[in-house]
């Protein structure tokens, strides 16, 4: 490791570190040539997380919880079982805890130490979730972080931040928007944003509704 903190491992023309795109390309070529990875597996992994596993999964969990009190109770009592029962299993979702927002308590999830995030229900974490501003500030000034998302909560609302320091992954159940009585799960799921399940946002109000 260098004294100045730069990364000197990879030099290309001019002695500068290789741009990351070239570096990753070289790494892939090397690992494929060495036989450590199968290119088809790489493509399959990309396709899976780019197109199939994403926050719409979590939205369906939340919508179910909004519409089905028994499911909601189960989800809060045993998040792992209740989420897996809907088919959302897999890497980074082996152990799940769901936490529900109420009029008094707003939940927010962070991983200050790295990028832990419930992939099977939310997909890959957004870049800001893994960034220093979010990781550093969520545990000390979450209201200022919420302001960056345009969210302002009453001063008397308890903010409950969950730092994912182990293999437990947390899913926020946002509050159900008003004026959605009788909505189907599918319609409700459209109101559930990714950010609302991290706790940096709220569920969307129905169009035309007063927020």
């Amino acid at each position: 490791m260098s004294d100045a903190g730069h990364d000197h491992d990879h030099r290309h023309e001019g002695g500068e570190p290789a741009p990351i795109a070239l570096r990753v390309k070289a790494l892939e070529s090397l690992l494929v040539e060495k036989g450590y990875v199968d290119p088809a597996a790489l493509d399959a992994i990309v396709e899976l997380y780019e197109h199939r596993v994403g926050p719409r999964n979590g939205a369906r969990v939340v919508a179910r919880a909004w519409n089905d009190p028994a499911y909601r109770d189960w989800l809060l009592a045993d998040g792992t079982a209740a989420v897996h029962a809907l088919g959302y299993t897999g890497r980074q979702g082996e152990h799940l805890v769901a936490v529900a927002n109420t009029p008094d308590v707003h939940n927010m999830v962070v991983c200050t130490l790295c990028s832990c995030y419930p992939w099977p229900v939310l997909g890959l974490p957004p870049v800001w979730y893994k960034s220093a501003p979010y990781r550093s500030r969520a545990v000390i000034e979450p209201r200022a972080v919420l302001a960056d998302f345009g969210v302002a909560l009453p001063a008397e609302t308890t903010i409950r931040v969950w730092d994912s320091t182990a293999e437990i992954r947390y899913l926020v159940i946002p509050r159900r928007p008003a004026d959605t009585d009788g909505w189907t799960e599918e319609a409700l799921a459209d109101l559930v944003t990714r950010d609302s399940m991290i706790g940096t946002g709220l569920a969307r109000a129905p169009e035309g509704a007063t927020p």
Partner: protein, 221 residues
């Protein structure tokens, strides 16, 4: 270790930049960095705690100047080097110069998808009963190990309350260093922000961490 990864409570990084949830990647190389990290990790040469430790072992200036997929890439390169699977010269040239070493498995597309769908459970039976129960007051230990740990600095020495007893889980502190799974009871411990950050902290805020039993001691020893 007290590396750059342990950033809870740090200041000076600027605002959080929200982003539309439809965005998955910002450049094609990010797709490949993800897939390589996951696929090679699935090869079974190292475990997830070892890979986290390698990332946090980056020089702090490098860690903080890198995007997270860059951190993954640099961590992956170092793991490959540390395990003798590639040489620095091979990384620089992007082509094989030596014969590969055997690794436990190379995932096919089908196997990769099966592994992703299955995941890897980290809960393990623990023979001894849990030392703490929900509602117990306890203190996170003051500890500053040179190796991997998942007890963030901001919680060390602080008084909290057990909120959830999660069960027995693999201990990252040993698992990252090839010293075994050593499962321990894992607790969700809640702290008031005033306990963590002092009397000027937001009185409406509480923060929890998940902490293994050896990270914790009774509030009054």
């Amino acid at each position: 270790m007290n590396g750059a990864q342990d950033m809870g409570g740090m200041m000076g990084f600027g605002p959080v930049m929200p982003e539309d949830e439809a965005v998955r990647f910002h450049a094609p190389w990010e797709r490949r960095a993800l897939a390589l990290t996951v696929a090679v990790g699935g090869g079974g040469v190292w475990n997830i705690d070892a890979s986290r430790h390698m990332r946090e072992s980056l020089h702090p200036a490098d860690y903080l100047a890198s995007s997270y997929y860059e951190i993954w890439t640099k961590g992956l390169e170092r793991l490959l080097l540390a395990h003798g699977l590639v040489t620095a010269e091979e990384l620089a040239q992007g082509r094989a110069l030596e014969a590969p070493r055997p690794i436990p498995r190379v995932l096919s597309a089908e196997a990769a998808l099966a592994a992703m769908a299955k995941g890897s459970s980290y809960d393990r039976p623990v023979a001894t009963p849990a030392r703490f129960a929900v509602g117990d007051r306890l203190r996170a230990r003051e500890m500053n190990p040179r190796g991997h740990t998942r007890l963030p600095r901001y919680a060390r020495g602080k008084l909290g309350t057990v909120e959830i007893v999660h069960g027995g889980y693999v201990l990252p502190d040993t698992h990252a260093h090839g010293q075994g799974e050593n499962p321990q009871w894992l607790y969700c411990v809640r702290f008031s922000a005033r306990e963590l950050w002092g009397p000027e902290a937001d009185p409406s805020l509480a923060v929890s961490i998940d902490a293994w039993e050896s990270y914790l001691e009774p509030a009054t020893p």
